[in-house]
C-alpha cells in the first residue's frame, strides 16, 4: 500500500489492467483515497458527519473554556481525517475507532482517577479557590440586626448603577463608591423613590438585564464602613448588611472584622486561623500521597481492615471455586450426547445469566428476609432462619446467591471448551483402554484448563470487586458491633471504600480514588501472577 504501489500495481504481481478500469473491491492496489467509487462517497459522508460533530464539540468546548476537551477533539479530528483520506494509513483505519474509545473510556478515566487520588476533592473542597472565597464572603455577610427593609429603586447614570431609597422622607442615592446622600429635587412615591434628577430610574426588565451587577452592588450607608452597606438580592428590597469577613488577595488572608481573627490560606485548601479553626468551604488542591498514607494510618480504617481483607479473598476465591465446580459439572453432564433435550436444559441453565445481577441480588434479598421471605415462609414452612442477619449465614447467603448468578457463565465457558476438544483425542484414549474417569481427569480436564484458566483469573478479579452484589444483597451487613466506621461481616474491600468515602455523610472523592487505586494494585498483582501460572498450563 505504499505510494509506489498505487502507481505501479504490476509490481505486486497483480495482472495488468487497462488504464481507467478500477479494481472491483478496492483492495487490489489502488488506494481508497484514489478510488472515487460508491464506497468513497459513503466514506466521505460518514467522515463529514463525524467532522461536523467534532466541530460542533470543539465550538461548544471553546465556548465554555474547556480547553482540554477542545484540544483532544482537534487532535481526534485531524487524526480521523488523516487516517481515512491518507493512502498510507490502512492499519490506522481499523485501529483508530478502537484507540479513541480506549482513550476516552479507559485511559482517560484511569488517569482522571489517579489525578483525583492526589487531590482533596470532596465535600468541603468542592470547587476552585475563587469560588470558595466568594462563598465565604457571601456566607459571612450578615444583615444588621433590627435594621429596616428599604423598598428599592435602582437608578443609573452614564452606566453607573446606584440605589435610591427613602430615608426619613427624603430620597437618598448612593453608588458603589459614594455613600447614600440626599438628592435635592427627587420625589418619593410612598416609601419608594419615584424620580431622581440626573438619574434614570430602571424598570424591572432593565434591572433583570444587569442582574449580576445589581446583585453584586454594595452601597455604603455612610462614610463609616462599620455602618454596613445596602444590598439587594431580589431587586425590589434592600437591606443593610455588614460583612464580617474581608479577603486580602495580597496576603491571601481572610480577616474577621468582628473578632480580628486572621485566617491564612494553607496548603490543604482552607483558610485557617492560628488556633486551627478552618473556614468552610475550602477549595480543591493537590495533597500528594496523603490519601494513600491515610489508608494505612487512619485507626478507624485499620481496625476492621484485616477481617475485611480476609473475607474479600475468601469470597472471591470461593465464588470462583463454587461457580466453576458447578458449571464444569453441568457442562460435562450436558455434553453427553445421550441426554435428550440438552438444548432445552442448556437454555434453561443460562437463564440466571440473563438477569441483571443487581436486580437478582435485590430479589434474593427479599426472598431471604427472615419473616416475610419466600425461602423461610414457603420453602421452609415458616422457619425463621436469619439468612442475612447472622454473620456466618450472611456470608453463606452471599456465596450461594453468587453461585446462582455465576455458574451459568462457567457452564457456558466450559461447554464451549469441551466442544472444542478434538474428538479423535478422546477416541484414541478410549481405544487405549482408558476408563471414562481417567479420560476426564487426564485428557479432558487439562485441555479444558488451557482455555478456561485465564477466565478463572479474570473471574477472580471480577468477584474481588463485586460491589453490586454485596451492596444490593446485604449492604455489607450484618454490621460489626461498635466499630468506628460502619462496615459489616460481608463487606468486601470495594464496598468498604464506598462506606468510608461516601456513606459517612461527607463525600471524599480523593480518598475513594486513592483506595480504589490500591485495590487495583492488589487485583493487578494477583491477576498478573495468575496469568503467569496459567501460561504454564499450556506447556503441558
Amino acid at each position: 500500500m505504499s505510494h509506489q504501489q498505487t502507481i505501479t500495481p504490476e509490481d505486486e504481481g497483480t495482472p495488468p489492467r487497462p488504464p481507467g478500469e478500477r479494481p472491483r473491491n478496492g483492495t487490489g492496489g489502488v488506494s481508497h483515497a484514489r478510488d472515487f467509487g460508491r464506497g468513497f462517497w459513503v466514506k466521505l459522508v460518514l467522515v463529514a458527519l463525524i467532522d461536523a460533530g467534532a466541530v460542533y464539540g470543539i465550538l461548544s468546548a471553546v465556548s465554555v473554556s474547556q480547553w482540554a476537551i477542545a484540544g483532544f477533539l482537534v487532535l481526534a479530528l485531524v487524526l480521523v481525517n488523516w487516517a481515512y483520506f491518507s493512502k498510507r494509513a490502512l492499519p490506522a483505519k481499523y485501529l483508530l475507532p478502537g484507540l479513541v474509545f480506549l482513550f476516552v473510556y479507559v485511559i482517560f478515566s484511569a488517569c482522571y482517577t489517579a489525578f483525583i487520588a492526589f487531590t482533596n476533592y470532596g465535600d468541603g473542597h468542592n470547587s476552585t479557590k475563587s469560588d470558595a472565597v466568594q462563598a465565604i464572603l457571601i456566607q459571612n455577610e450578615q444583615r444588621v440586626e433590627g435594621s429596616a427593609a428599604y423598598p428599592l429603586t435602582i437608578v443609573s447614570q452614564g452606566g453607573t448603577l446606584g440605589f435610591a431609597v427613602v430615608q426619613d422622607g427624603t430620597v437618598e442615592v448612593g453608588t458603589q463608591d459614594d455613600p447614600l446622600a440626599p438628592v435635592t429635587g427627587a420625589t418619593a412615591d410612598g416609601d419608594k423613590a419615584a424620580t431622581v434628577p440626573g438619574w434614570d430610574v430602571l424598570g424591572f426588565a432593565q434591572i433583570a438585564q444587569e442582574q449580576d451587577a445589581v446583585v453584586n452592588l454594595r452601597v455604603p450607608v455612610s462614610d463609616d464602613a462599620a455602618d454596613g452597606s445596602l444590598r439587594t438580592s431580589d431587586g425590589l428590597t434592600a437591606y443593610v448588611y455588614q460583612s464580617t469577613m474581608t479577603y486580602d488577595p495580597a496576603t491571601d488572608t481572610m480577616t474577621d472584622s468582628a473578632t480580628g481573627t486572621v485566617y491564612t490560606a494553607d496548603d490543604h485548601g482552607n483558610f485557617r486561623s492560628a488556633d486551627g479553626t478552618a473556614l468552610t468551604p475550602g477549595w480543591r488542591v493537590t495533597v500528594g500521597f496523603e490519601n494513600f498514607t491515610r489508608a494505612f494510618t487512619d485507626s478507624r480504617i485499620s481496625g476492621p481492615f484485616l477481617q475485611i481483607l480476609v473475607w474479600t479473598f475468601a469470597f472471591a476465591f470461593l465464588s470462583v471455586l463454587t461457580t466453576f465446580a458447578l458449571g464444569l459439572f453441568l457442562a460435562v453432564v450436558f455434553n453427553d450426547p445421550r441426554i435428550r433435550g440438552r438444548k432445552v436444559y442448556r437454555a434453561l441453565l443460562i437463564l440466571p445469566y440473563a438477569f441483571p445481577g443487581f436486580l437478582a441480588a435485590l430479589v434474593w434479598k427479599g426472598m431471604l428476609n427472615v419473616d416475610f421471605g419466600f425461602v423461610n415462609q414457603t420453602l421452609l414452612h415458616g422457619a425463621s432462619i436469619p439468612w442475612l442477619t447472622d454473620p456466618w449465614l450472611a456470608k453463606l447467603s452471599v456465596l450461594m446467591v453468587n453461585l446462582w448468578l455465576g455458574f451459568p457463565y462457567m457452564f457456558l465457558v466450559c461447554t464451549g471448551a469441551l466442544q472444542s476438544i478434538p474428538g479423535d483425542v478422546l477416541e484414541s484414549a478410549k481405544m487405549d483402554g482408558a476408563s471414562p474417569v481417567r479420560v476426564q481427569r487426564s485428557i479432558v480436564f487439562p485441555l479444558l484448563m488451557v482455555s478456561v484458566a485465564p477466565l478463572l483469573v479474570s473471574s477472580f478479579a471480577f468477584n474481588f470487586n463485586n460491589f453490586s452484589l454485596i451492596y444490593m444483597l446485604t449492604g455489607g451487613g450484618p454490621d460489626f458491633q461498635g466499630t468506628p466506621i460502619i462496615v459489616g461481616h460481608t463487606d468486601i474491600l470495594i464496598s468498604m471504600v464506598y462506606s468510608v468515602a461516601f456513606e459517612s455523610g461527607v463525600k471524599q472523592y480523593g480518598f475513594a480514588s486513592a483506595l480504589s487505586i490500591l485495590i487495583f494494585v492488589i487485583v493487578g498483582v494477583i491477576s498478573w501472577w495468575g496469568f503467569r501460572r496459567t501460561r504454564r498450563l499450556e506447556e503441558l
Binding site: L49, G53, P478, D479
Partner: protein, 422 residues
C-alpha cells in the same frame, strides 16, 4: 470544572462513531416541561429569561401549575427538570461549581449543611416575611445563622390508627398503647418500620420521650454541637427498645414496605408513619385518625420535623430572577395554599396552614407541633448510619448489653464529628 469532562468526552466519543451528535451538552434529566407562551399581565413588566429548576418525581406535577403562573405573571420561563430525589442533592453539589447547574432546586432542609459546606447555595433574605412562617420551618433552613432556603411544606410522623380495628385510644403511655394494640387481636400491635439498616427517624419520638435528643438544644430550639443522646437517658432508651425487640413489637425484618402492607391489610391497629403513606391509606378508603405518639419515657414524644423548600444556586446566572421566584413568589399565601392543595403537605406559611381543614393533616400538625427540625449538619449521614445500625443490633438482640452498645455508638458519633471538623 473537570467533572464534566468525562461526560462531554464520552458524548463526543460516541458521536465519533455514530457520526451524529445529538448531545445537548446539559446532562440533566429526562423530562422537561416548558410552560406555555408568555402572557405578561399589564401590571408586571415584561421580562425575558429562563430559570432552570430541578424537581423530583413526586413534586413535578405539583410544581407545574405554579411555574406556569409565575411565567404568566412575569414572563420569565421556568424549565422544570425531573430528577430522582437523591440525584438532585449530589448532582447539585457536583454541577454548581461547573456553572452548568440549575438556578433553583426543590429539596429537603436537611441538605442545607452539605450545600453550605460546599459553597453551592446562595443565602436568601425573607425580611419581615420570615415572621409569617412556622418557626421550625425557618429554623430548619437556617445554617450558621443565615437562611438558605424558602420553606413551603412541613411534614413529620405521628401515630396513625385504623378506626375500624380500634375506634378509640385511651393509652397515655407507649406501653399502654402496645397492650391496647394487642387487645385488638391482630398480628401486630403497633408497627414502626425498621429494616435491616435500622430506622432512627421512625424511633425518634420514643427516643425524645426519654429526653435523649440527637443534639442538645439551646434556648431558642436550635441545635448545639453537643450530642444529647448519650448518658443515663440514652441508656434507658436503649434498654427500652431492647425490651420492645424482645416483645416483637420492633423487628428488623419490618421495613417500610412491609409495615405499610401489613397496616393496609388490617394486620395492625396502629402504625407510626408520615403523610406520604396516609394519602395512600385514605385513597384506599381506610378510615384513619392521626394522633401524637404516646410517651414511652415520661417526657413528651417529639418527632423530627422535615421541611421542604427551594434553594438557589450560588452560581446562578439569573440571581435576581431566581430570588424573585423563590422569595417573592413561592412565599405568597396564594402559592403556598396551592402547593398544599396539590401536594397534601402542611404549608410552612402560617396563614396558609390556618386554612387546612383536612383532619389527617391537622393531626400531623398537632403531633409535630413541638418537634424540632432534623439536624442538617453534613455529618448527619454518618450519624444516621451509626444510629440505625446500633438500634437494629439492640432490637435483634445481637448486642447483648444494650446500654454498652449505645454508649459505644455515642462515642463513634462523637469521633465522626471530631474527625470531620478537622
Amino acid at each position: 470544572m473537570r467533572r464534566s469532562i468525562p461526560v462531554v468526552a464520552a458524548a463526543l466519543g460516541l458521536a465519533l462513531t455514530m457520526t451524529a451528535c445529538s448531545s445537548g451538552g446539559s446532562s440533566t434529566g429526562d423530562q422537561t416541561s416548558a410552560p406555555p407562551s408568555e402572557a405578561p399581565t399589564s401590571a408586571a413588566p415584561t421580562l425575558s429569561g429562563t430559570l432552570t429548576m430541578w424537581v423530583d418525581e413526586t413534586r413535578i406535577d405539583v410544581m407545574k401549575p405554579i411555574v406556569q403562573e409565575f411565567t404568566a405573571q412575569t414572563g420569565v420561563k421556568v424549565d422544570l427538570v425531573q430528577k430522582v430525589s437523591g440525584d438532585i442533592r449530589t448532582d447539585f453539589v457536583k454541577q454548581v461549581p461547573t456553572g452548568q447547574g440549575p438556578d433553583v432546586i426543590i429539596g429537603a432542609h436537611d441538605w442545607t449543611g452539605e450545600f453550605v459546606n460546599n459553597g453551592v447555595v446562595a443565602p436568601i433574605e425573607l425580611g419581615d416575611k420570615a415572621d409569617g412562617f412556622a418557626t421550625s420551618a425557618i429554623q430548619a433552613f437556617t445554617y450558621d445563622g443565615k437562611l438558605y432556603g424558602a420553606p413551603y411544606a412541613i411534614e413529620n410522623i405521628a401515630l396513625v390508627r385504623n378506626n375500624k380495628l380500634q375506634p378509640e385510644t385511651t393509652a397515655k403511655t407507649f406501653d399502654d398503647l402496645v397492650t391496647e394494640g394487642k387487645k385488638a387481636g391482630k398480628k401486630y400491635s403497633v408497627l414502626i418500620q425498621q429494616g435491616d439498616q435500622g430506622d432512627a427517624y421512625h424511633l425518634y419520638p420514643l427516643q425524645t420521650s426519654f429526653d435523649a435528643p440527637i443534639f442538645k438544644q439551646s434556648g431558642d430550639g436550635s441545635y448545639t454541637n453537643e450530642l444529647g443522646l448519650g448518658g443515663a437517658n440514652g441508656d434507658k432508651f436503649a434498654k427500652y427498645i431492647a425490651k420492645l425487640g424482645k416483645e416483637k413489637v420492633l423487628s428488623a425484618s419490618i421495613g417500610g414496605d412491609q409495615a405499610k402492607a401489613a397496616f393496609e391489610k388490617g394486620d395492625s391497629p396502629y402504625i407510626v408513619t408520615g403523610p406520604w403513606y396516609t394519602t395512600e391509606f385514605t385513597q384506599k378508603g381506610m378510615d384513619i385518625s392521626v394522633l401524637p405518639v404516646p410517651s414511652a419515657g415520661g417526657s413528651e414524644a417529639k418527632p423530627f420535623v422535615g421541611v421542604q423548600g427551594a434553594f438557589i444556586s450560588s452560581k446562578s446566572k439569573n440571581p435576581l430572577l431566581a430570588q424573585a421566584f423563590v422569595t417573592s413568589f413561592l412565599t405568597t399565601e396564594k402559592v403556598q395554599t396551592e402547593l398544599y392543595k396539590a401536594g397534601g403537605r402542611l404549608p410552612a406559611l402560617k396563614a396558609s396552614a390556618e386554612q387546612v381543614d383536612d383532619p389527617v393533616l391537622k393531626g400531623f400538625n398537632e403531633a409535630g407541633a413541638t418537634g424540632a427540625p432534623m439536624p442538617s449538619i453534613p455529618e448527619m449521614g454518618a450519624m444516621w448510619a451509626f444510629w440505625g445500625t446500633t438500634q437494629v443490633q439492640i432490637i435483634s438482640g445481637q448486642a447483648k448489653d444494650p446500654a454498652a452498645a449505645w454508649t459505644k455508638m455515642v462515642k463513634n458519633m462523637q469521633d465522626a464529628i471530631d474527625k470531620a471538623g478537622k
